[in-house]
Symmetry: C2
Subunit: 461 residues, 2 copies
C-alpha cells in the first residue's frame, strides 16, 4: 500500500485540523468550514490559517501553516488555486499527514500546470491530497467535516457502515443530505473532485481495509485509468459490495462532465461492461442508489423465491407484479407453512402468496406470519407490505420487523406507502437498519440486486 | 348519459349523508366514518342509521334509512354483505340520489347472488351505486369522505384538478395520503371496488363532464369490458389527460388481483395495447404515477428540446444523461441567448446546456436565465435544478419558479435533491403548482410523457 494511503487515515481521524482561509466573515467558505467544525463538535484541535487574523471564532489563527506551533494532522485549503501549491509545500514542511483542497481552478479550467504541481508535491512529501475542486470528507465518527454547506441546509448523517466515494461535490452533498434524512448511517464521505493526486482507485484500496466500512457507494463521472479501476472494483467488491453509478453517459452529457471535473467521461458502454465484469451493482439513478445500498446490509439470500405479506390486497398485487417484472420467483409455501398460515388468517381469508392478512390484521398476525416464513425452506426472502394507515397497526410493528431483521436469517424488505405518518414510521425502521421502501417495485428491484450478488458470491466459492 | 351518472354528482356534493352502521364504538368503521364527516367539516347534514342508537356522536340516529324524516342524498353502507340489498331497497324507496357500499363479501368471495341483486337494484331504482368492497369517495371541495381510515393516520389532500379513480382501496388510500403529503390537490377520489353497478367506464364518462377535473388517474386491476374502456379512454383522454396504471400484470399476480376485487385481470399486453391506442400515459409504478400526473398541469411543449439550468455541475450532468436516456433533445441556444446568458455567468463560467450557474449563483441568476430561455424559440421546455443547500439560494427562488410556471409559456420541471430543508422547499413548490422532482431521471421521464401527449394532440388537429 502506498505510504500516502496509510496516512489517509489521519485525514478521517485527525488529532488536529488547520483551516486555511478560515474567516470570521459570514457565509464565506472559510467561515462555514470553521463553524461546521466548531458546531459539529469535532473531537480534535482546530486552527485557522489566515494572515488577516490572530483569532477566528475563538480559534487561534496563524499567518501560515508552518507558523502553527503544535502538530497538524489535516490541512483543509479553501483559498484561490494560485495559492494552493505554496500552501501544500508548507504542509509538507510542517509534517502534516494529509491535505484536502476544496478550491477549484485546476484541470477543470485547463490549469494543468497547477494540477501537475499538486501531484508532484503529493509524491514529494508522501502527502495524501484529496481534491482539488471537491467537498472533501465527512466522518460522522470523528466529526471531520469539510463540506462547506451550512448544517441547517444540509443535514449530516450519523455513524454507519456505508462509505460514499464521489467525484461530484454537488451530487455528493445531496446524497449526504438524503442519507441523513432517511436515517441512514455512513462510515465516510469522500468527495475527491478532480482526483489529481488520489483518485477513486486509491479510495477503494483505502476502504478495502477500513474497519468502519462494509458497503461502498461509488459515484463516477469520468476516470483516468479504467483498467486499474476494474481491478480494484473486482478485488474490493468481493469483500465489500460496491454500488456504482456513472454520470455523464452520453454525448453532450459527457462534455458537461468534462468541464465539471476535468476528466474524460469515456464510453459509457465500457463502464457498464466493467461494472458487470466486477459484478458491481449499478444504479441508474439517485433513487436506485439509495434503494440498492440499503439492502446490502441484509443477509444474502439462498435463491430468488420471495414471500409477500400484506395487509392491503392491492399492494400485494403490485408486489407480485414487481417480482415478475424483476425476474424473481413467487415462493410456494411448504405444506406445513400453509397449515400454520391458515390459523393466522380470518375465516374468510385464503392462504396465498401474496399472503393477504387483510386490513383487520394486527401486529401479532405479522409476527406469526414472519415466524412461519422464516422457518420455511421454500422461501429465500420476505417482502413485507405494511399499510400503516389501518387502525390495528401500531408502533409495535417496528419492533417486530426490527427483530426479524436482527435475526439475520433471510433478507427482508419492507414496503409502506403514505404521507407524514408513514414517513415517520419508515424513518424509524431505517434508523434500526430495516430496509424500507416507498413502493413494491423499488423494494423488489433492490432484492433482485442482492440476490444477483449472492449468486455470484456462491459461484466464487 | 345514464340517468344514474347524472345523479352521481349528488354523491360528491350531497346536501345530506346517511351513514348506515354509524356507531359510537371507537375504531369501528361506522365510528371512523362518523368522525371523518364531523371532524372533516362536511358541509351538509349528517345522519346515522343504526337500530341500536337514537344518537351517535351528537348526530341523530334512525333504525332504517326510510325512518329519516328529511331528504337524504347520499347513503354510505358499512354493514355486513347480507344486509346490503335490503338497505339499498330502502335507499331507493327513500329517494336517495346515490349509494356507497363499503362492505366486502360479494363477487370477491363468490357471492355473485348478492352482487347481482346490487346490480338489479341499481337499475330498478336508477340509483348510482359505488362499490361494494371499496373505500368510496372523497371530495375535498365538499368534504364528503367515506375513506374509513382515521385522518391522523391518513392525510386528506386539498382541492385541486386531479381526479383519482381506483379499484383498489388500499392502493387508493395510500395515493390519497401521498398526494396530501406532497401538497397536491385533487378534485375527486373514487375507489369503486368491485364495480358491480358502476365501473371505471362510468367514472370516465362522469369525469369527462366534471368541471372540477382536468387530469385523471386511472388505477386498474381488472376490467369487465375492455372494449368499452378503450372507447372511453380514447374519448376522454383527448380532453382530459389520463394517467393509467395496471396492477396484476402477470400469472400469480393476476390470481391475487382476482381474489382481491373479483375481476379478471386479463392479459396485460391487451391493456398495454389499449393504453397505447388511446394515447393514455401509462405509469409502471406508484412513483411514476405521481411523477407523471403532476406535469400534466403544465402547458404542452412544442417539441423535445430541453434546456437545463443548474447550480451544481454534477446534477447538470445527470440531467443531460436523463435527457439522452429518455430520447429527448438537449437544446441548442440561439445566438442571442448565448450572448445574454454569458452576462449572467461569472467570468470563469461557460455557456453550455446544461447551463451551470455554479454554486455561487443567487436567485437573480436563475430569474435572468429563465427569462432568456423562455424567449428562445429553440427551447421547448426547461429542466431547472436547484440545489437549495448552497448559501446564496433563499426562499425567493420559490417566487421566481412559481412566476415562470404561472406565465404558462413553456413546461417547467424543477429538480432538487436533499433532506428536510429541501423537502420543505419542494412541498412549497408543489403547493404552488410547480412540478418538483427528487431526481433528474424522474423529471425528464415526466417531461417525455408530456411531450408525447402534446405531439399526439398536435397530430389530431
Amino acid at each position: 500500500m502506498d505510504e500516502r494511503l496509510k496516512k489517509l487515515a489521519y485525514v478521517f481521524k485527525p488529532r488536529s485540523v488547520a483551516i486555511v482561509g478560515g474567516s470570521p466573515v459570514p457565509n464565506k467558505i472559510g467561515n462555514v468550514l470553521m463553524k461546521n467544525f466548531i458546531d459539529g463538535r469535532f473531537m480534535g484541535k482546530i486552527y485557522a490559517v489566515n494572515p488577516k487574523y490572530t483569532e477566528v471564532l475563538g480559534v487561534p489563527c496563524y499567518p501560515r501553516v508552518t507558523d502553527i506551533p503544535k502538530l497538524v494532522d489535516c490541512v483543509i485549503i479553501a483559498t484561490p488555486a494560485e495559492t494552493v501549491p505554496g500552501i501544500i509545500e508548507d504542509c509538507g514542511k510542517k509534517g502534516a499527514k494529509g491535505v484536502i483542497v476544496l478550491s477549484g481552478g485546476f484541470e477543470e479550467v485547463n490549469r494543468n500546470d497547477l494540477a501537475d504541481r499538486v501531484k508532484e508535491l503529493s509524491v514529494q512529501y508522501k502527502l495524501p491530497i484529496i481534491g482539488p475542486n471537491c467537498l472533501g470528507v465527512f466522518n460522522p465518527y470523528t466529526r471531520v467535516d469539510s463540506i462547506f454547506l451550512p448544517m441547517y441546509k444540509l443535514q449530516r448523517p450519523g455513524p454507519g457502515n456505508i462509505a460514499f466515494v464521489t467525484q461530484s461535490g454537488a451530487v455528493g452533498s445531496t446524497v449526504v443530505d438524503l442519507a441523513a434524512h432517511y436515517g441512514m448511517g455512513i462510515s465516510k464521505f469522500i468527495s475527491y473532485g478532480n482526483g489529481t493526486a488520489l483518485n477513486e482507485c486509491d479510495m477503494l484500496e483505502f476502504l478495502e481495509k477500513d474497519e468502519e466500512t462494509e458497503i461502498i457507494i461509488l459515484y463516477l463521472e469520468g476516470v483516468k485509468d479504467g483498467r486499474r479501476l476494474l481491478g480494484w472494483m473486482k478485488k474490493v467488491n468481493v469483500k465489500k459490495p460496491i454500488i456504482a453509478m456513472k454520470a455523464g453517459k452520453y454525448g453532450k452529457a459527457m462534455a458537461a462532465a468534462r468541464s465539471h471535473t476535468g476528466n474524460i467521461a469515456g464510453n459509457y458502454m465500457a463502464y457498464k461492461a466493467a461494472f458487470r465484469q466486477a459484478k458491481v451493482t449499478e444504479a441508474d439513478s439517485l433513487e436506485e442508489l439509495f434503494d440498492f445500498v440499503k439492502i446490502f446490509d441484509q443477509p444474502l439470500p439462498k435463491g430468488n423465491r420471495v414471500a409477500v405479506i400484506t395487509n392491503g390486497g392491492g399492494m400485494g398485487v403490485l408486489t407480485a407484479d414487481a417480482i415478475n417484472d424483476q425476474g424473481m420467483e413467487i415462493a410456494d409455501y411448504s405444506e406445513a407453512s400453509k397449515e400454520a398460515l391458515k390459523k393466522i388468517l380470518p375465516s374468510y381469508g385464503s392462504v396465498g402468496n401474496p399472503l393477504d392478512l387483510v386490513a383487520d390484521a394486527g401486529v401479532d398476525a405479522y409476527e406469526k406470519a414472519i415466524a412461519v416464513m422464516m422457518a420455511d425452506q421454500n422461501i429465500d426472502s420476505l417482502a413485507i407490505v405494511v399499510l400503516t394507515q389501518t387502525p390495528p397497526i401500531d408502533e409495535r410493528i417496528i419492533g417486530v420487523l426490527t427483530q426479524a431483521c436482527d435475526e439475520r436469517k433471510k433478507p427482508i424488505v419492507t414496503i409502506s406507502v403514505g404521507g407524514e405518518y408513514t414517513e415517520a414510521y419508515k424513518r424509524a425502521l431505517e434508523s434500526k437498519g430495516v430496509p424500507s421502501y416507498g413502493s413494491p417495485l423499488a423494494a423488489v428491484k433492490a432484492l433482485r440486486r442482492l440476490s444477483d450478488y449472492a449468486m455470484w458470491k456462491r459461484k466464487l466459492k
